[in-house]
């Protein structure tokens, strides 16, 4: 290889035209920006879709939210594929060693039957909630306008598949295929789960992808994650430390990915009063529905008190308010 002093060979430019326009000048750009900005076609589409009479192939009017610039949605994590898989690969390595640790020492044998059943009843049906979240985020990813939203939504969808698979492994550890099957049966038939399943299925037929984003990623996860991975896992006591190990991925993931979720809402709300109103309407609508659905899971299955659930709701309201949504006024 020829070694040459870099000083002697000057670059002619630092980045691509479309990136320079966003940066406000020709400056070196991050791999996140070069790899994410404006990958989606914006004009000169050829054919009307055989499956959609109303819209162009890529069309901002697939949501009621309006943005002057759909590339304002900078992901605070600045994930491109390489940094995304790297982050997840480190997390999966930790998860793998946690699972290994629990399996090798057979740690679940120290958990009494009642606690074990409780874990199975709460955690195993949730794999279907995660699968629903995967479908909803795949929907967001396929219809969201612009690569700046569509790419992290794809990562988010895949994360939910990964989490559903970790929950499956927990089910297998707790009692094998039978336990996993029982969890599915509960998701399909147990009255305590029917509310959440109905909310999930109703979201499958919603048309506005931004509404699905609010309902699933802000409201649904904003209630389920603290309920399950914070309170339920903690409340299960000493025996919960094993479960905490097995669900570490989920709680870390939630802390990290909610930064992205929040940024999307904050940016859309800051754009206009109209957006802010719309987001608040969706938030209120889905919070009422989801909260009613989550209540029997919290009280009947997880043994989480009404007061705790109220605290979770308050925390979510506070978060939404901080993001610019007017909670009380509507």
């Amino acid at each position: 290889m020829i070694e040459i002093r870099t000083a002697t060979i000057e670059p002619l430019r630092n980045t691509f035209d479309h990136v320079a326009r966003v940066l406000g000048g020709d400056k070196p750009a991050s791999r996140y920006l070069e790899g994410t900005l404006k990958l989606q076609s914006e004009a000169n589409f050829n054919y009307q879709a055989l499956w959609d009479k109303e819209h162009e192939l890529y069309d901002p009017s697939r949501t009621a939210i309006e943005m002057a610039d759909w590339y304002a949605f900078i992901d605070p994590r600045q994930f491109h594929y390489g940094s995304y898989t790297n982050a997840r690969s480190r997390q999966q390595e930790a998860a793998e060693s946690n699972f290994d640790f629990v399996e090798k020492r057979d740690l679940l044998r120290f958990v009494d039957d009642a606690a074990r059943q409780k874990m199975a009843r709460v955690l195993v049906p949730l794999r279907h909630y995660e699968w629903g979240a995967n479908m909803n985020n795949s929907f967001i990813a396929s219809f969201a306008y612009g690569s700046m939203l569509n790419i992290p939504a794809t990562f988010h969808a895949m994360d939910r598949l990964g989490i559903a698979q970790y929950l499956t492994r927990i089910g297998l550890l707790l009692g094998g295929v039978e336990t996993v099957d029982a969890g599915k049966d509960a998701w399909l038939n147990d009255p305590a789960w029917q509310g959440l399943r109905k909310v999930t299925e109703d979201l499958f037929v919603e048309k506005d992808w931004f509404e699905v984003f609010v309902a699933q990623n802000v409201v649904g996860d904003g209630l389920i994650y603290p309920l399950v991975y914070r309170h339920f896992v903690q409340d299960i006591g000493v025996q919960g430390s094993t479960v905490a190990m097995l669900t570490e991925f989920m709680s870390d993931w939630s802390d990290e990915s909610s930064k992205w979720v929040d940024s999307v809402i904050r940016i859309a709300a800051a754009e206009s009063e109209k957006n802010r109103q719309q987001l608040a309407i969706w938030y209120k609508k889905w919070k009422a529905l989801t909260l009613a659905a989550v209540r029997p899971i919290a009280t009947d299955l997880a043994g989480v008190s009404a007061e705790t659930l109220q605290n979770i709701e308050n925390a979510l309201d506070a978060r939404a308010k901080k993001l610019g949504l007017e909670i009380g006024g509507l």
Binding site: Y47, Q48, L50, W51, D52, K53
Partner: protein, 120 residues
């Protein structure tokens, strides 16, 4: 055939209808055995232009870089359209010659077979 779509009666927008060309229309021309011009050309023409003027003012600037162009004996040139011979009247307009929107015509120059007689 009809297009099989999710909704009834899938209909496309005709992107290149004559009305989209602001009074002009499209005419395609290829010179046989002269592949130095690798493909037929597409021209936007006024329908009331005389065919002779079309050759002189529109085709010539495209084709005159070929050494054969200056040697063409226009009385011997043969024209084709849709695989059949076509006899344009130079004194008549494109429209009068029946050249509707998006007509494609080819011309051959007997005795002139491109560079080195190789069809180039």
């Amino acid at each position: 055939m009809t297009v099989n779509a999710l909704y009834p009666d899938y209909q496309g927008k005709v992107r290149d209808a004559e009305s989209n060309f602001h009074g002009g229309r499209l005419l395609y021309v290829a010179w046989n055995r002269h592949l130095m011009f690798t493909n037929p050309f597409a021209y936007l023409v006024q329908p009331d232009m005389k065919f002779g003027d079309f050759v002189k003012t529109v085709m010539a600037p495209s084709f005159e870089t070929h050494p054969d162009w200056a040697k063409i004996d226009w009385t011997k040139v043969t024209w084709h359209r849709k695989g059949e011979s076509f006899a344009p009247d130079c004194s008549k307009t494109l429209k009068e010659n029946g050249l509707a929107h998006k007509a494609a015509i080819q011309f051959s120059t007997p005795g002139l077979d491109g560079i080195g007689g190789l069809g180039i």
